[in-house]
């Protein structure tokens, strides 16, 4: 009869804490609807791998991890789906908005400096990429650099992406005046030719890969997805990429990331510091975009509403919508959506470029 309690006696308090963390992730996913596509599988996977002598850990979760995370395949396949979901139209009508996407990656490099005070080079670089606000890029970079903190980095990246509606507004309000938040930016509707929409992903891939070859896979898969969407002859593939492929890979990704969520790997002071650095990265990203817009306004006659700079982080489309809502709150006639969404999609491109730069600087 000892079969009934033998394994129960093997539970450690650390595993209990991790199971609790798994339950919290599931709660946040279901009750608060915070990135449920990732947090729920991660939460449940965390429970599975923290049962003593769990055969899920040594068996299917390990196999899924080796099949798709250790070789960066799952994040790249997910990028095809993400690329197919993105409409670059608002950005193509005003390409200068991409500058804000670049500025909003400052949080990555600032966090790199901060992280290096606590961690060695490769781990610091992996932690800094939380600031990309992009799950696939974070996982791909952390794995390629061989970081031991992939689990913590993934949890931080996806958790803070879901918390963007809470993180960004106070930072934006702190760095802008009421007068600046009231700046109107009328949108001029311009059409973008189909040929431009087709050439854009091809040219982006060639330009970025030629300069930063370590970003080829990331930018290539993202733009491949976009090309499937824009070519006009692959509607069924585009729909499959946006829905079936993205959902399927998300399930596998979420549950296999849990391979790094065992008590021994996760419950360390390091994890707490990583969560703090991740939050810092998001805050400085937001500040970087806003302050860059304010800097540009020193030289421009036609002022920019500096809030749109905050949309340069890659949390698409949440960040763009947050900025638009904040603009409407200040002035119900101020429609910033097309500008903020344009900046937001540029952040997706810039975050991938930043990931490639981090790999270029730190890969041996």
């Amino acid at each position: 009869m000892d079969i009934l309690y033998k394994n129960l006696l093997e539970f450690s308090w650390q595993q209990g804490v991790m199971i609790l963390i798994g339950l919290v992730l599931i709660y946040l996913a279901i009750k608060k609807e915070m990135e449920p596509t990732l947090l729920l599988p991660m939460g449940f996977g965390t429970i599975l791998v923290n049962i003593p002598f769990s055969d899920a850990l040594a068996g299917p979760i390990k196999e899924l991890y080796n099949a798709g995370i250790a070789n960066e395949l799952f994040p790249l396949l997910l990028f095809i789906g993400i690329g197919a979901m993105i409409d670059f139209g608002p950005l193509l009508t005003n390409p200068k908005l991409m500058l804000f996407g670049a500025a909003a990656q400052f949080g990555i490099f600032f966090t790199l400096c901060m992280a290096r005070m606590f961690f060695p080079d490769l781990d610091a670089a992996s932690i800094s990429i939380i600031g990309a606000a992009d799950g696939p890029t974070s996982i791909a970079v952390a794995n390629t650099l061989g970081s031991q903190y992939v689990g913590a980095i993934t949890v931080a990246a996806y958790s803070y992406m879901a918390l963007v509606p809470i993180i960004q507004p106070p930072v934006i309000k702190l760095l802008t005046t009421k007068k600046e938040r009231l700046i109107r930016m009328p949108y001029e509707q311009k059409s973008v030719s189909k040929l431009t929409r087709i050439m854009f992903p091809i040219i982006i891939t060639v330009v970025v890969s030629a300069i930063i070859p370590q970003a080829t896979a990331l930018i290539g898969f993202l733009m491949f997805g976009n090309l499937i969407r824009e070519c006009g002859v692959l509607d069924s593939l585009s729909e499959t990429a946006q829905k079936v492929l993205a959902n399927l890979v998300t399930i596998f990704l979420g549950i296999s990331v849990a391979f790094n969520m065992t008590a021994q790997q996760f419950l360390k002071l390091d994890t707490l510091i990583i969560m703090g650095l991740g939050l810092l990265a998001f805050i400085v990203d937001t500040a970087g975009g806003v302050l860059f817009a304010k800097f540009l306004n020193l030289f421009l006659k036609k002022k920019i509403n500096p809030m749109i700079g905050a949309a340069g982080i890659s949390a698409f489309p949440m960040s763009g919508r947050i900025v638009h809502k904040m603009g409407l709150k200040e002035d119900p006639q101020n429609f910033l959506l097309m500008h903020s969404i344009g900046v937001n999609v540029s952040g997706q491109i810039a975050s991938v470029i930043a990931g490639g730069i981090i790999l270029n600087l730190f890969m041996k």
């Binding site: 390409p95 991409m98 005070m117 610091a124 930063i212 390091d270 930043a354 730069i357």
Partner: protein, 56 residues
Amino acid sequence: MKLFALLNSAPQIEFNPDGFVKMLPYMGIGMAVIFVIIGVIILATLLINKIFSNKK
């Protein structure tokens, strides 16, 4: 100083304030490269907009 002692007492953490300064060149290079690449992309986009625009 108490914070330093606390951090250094955790076996996994080696607090190294010089690390911040050591990474500053990477910050400069990284941000410069991002802006250069984005600048090239902006110019390429303006060019393809001009070449492939809807002709009336």
